[in-house]
Assembly symmetry: C2
Homo-oligomer: 231 residues x 2
Amino acid sequence: MTEARRVHVRISELSRRSGVPVATIKYYLREGLLPKGEATSSTQATYGATHLRRLRLIRALVEVTDAPLVKVRAALDAIDDRGMDVHDLLGSAQHAFFADAKAAKADDTGEREAEERAAALLAELGWSVTDHSPARDQLARAIATMDRLGRPVGDEMLRVYAAAARMVAEEDLRCLDPEAPREEMVEYAVAVSAVMERALMALRLLAQEDASARRFDGDRPAEGRPRRMDD
Amino acid sequence: MTEARRVHVRISELSRRSGVPVATIKYYLREGLLPKGEATSSTQATYGATHLRRLRLIRALVEVTDAPLVKVRAALDAIDDRGMDVHDLLGSAQHAFFADAKAAKADDTGEREAEERAAALLAELGWSVTDHSPARDQLARAIATMDRLGRPVGDEMLRVYAAAARMVAEEDLRCLDPEAPREEMVEYAVAVSAVMERALMALRLLAQEDASARRFDGDRPAEGRPRRMDD
């Protein structure tokens, strides 16, 4: 039995264990991000393991991802919707985090072409994904933006990115315990998606720095295939 | 010779070619994000290829990454600092984009332990990276957050993430033309870092959706090692 299982405490102790100030906890309660405690009098309530876990998740999402509260709430609503199975939930919580991608949807030819390239890539990969998802839009938007910069992304680059994404996603899923209670599993999936995304971004920049050191530092001659600029 | 080389136009034409409204261009000029044009009278100026390229970069950074203008400006300042070589610039423009990571620096034991784990991982990988960088802090912060959630990240997961990040970073660098003018190369590096980051995040979510479909959809038995759902 973990520490989390044994708690059944007042708000002050919940604050101490979670590291979240009492005033912030009260705010989350008012906003419905955190479910109400069990009332022990007209002015007091106690909080259990679920509250502590949920509070830590909110804190992680807010602090690490800088996501606005409205997004955190949408992700939590998805977790709390008992009509959804785990796969729906993974999709839904993701969509909650990518909801703004939808706002800047394809409205010109370049964007539509980029959507077609994204669709073609996913078809080539054989990935089973929903037709309309914010993640798909976001991929298309990145492709369209590189086009607009006059630096279209090659197929080879997209394939390398997809292979890397696949490796990471398999690892993410491998770490999900299929025997955990549904809510815990989904909370974990949301946390891994959001928090480890930051780790992946950071590692990419560090790897770029290392690769750049090998290639450019001190203006040593470039490795690989030297080319003449033609422009 | 590309279209970009031939422009030498008024602000209205610069607006048409870049898709950025005249009022926005004037705002960027006032804020110093875009260098002034060549004055042709006391009230008019013309703009060249550099302006168009820079404007497209600003637009890409603002629209795709939702970065605040202050960050875009810091990245552009790094590009414009002629004292830096390309490797410095890659680091510096990155740091400009990760400047907020520094604000939430290690202040407790958990964070310091996470910093040590990040350092140990980088040492194991043999990556040549600066001791103090926002990307390193961001990695440590993600590790510390998973700890606080009671779900510490295993070494194996970190290694998989690092390998995926490495693949992507090598591809990013491969697409840099070492003979391009310094400013163009760095502008491209910044664009690829920022814009393709969104593509990578989107592909990870799509790959998670696919992996989850194989494993959970319709509550079919999980592939691989079938186990009972206990919920």
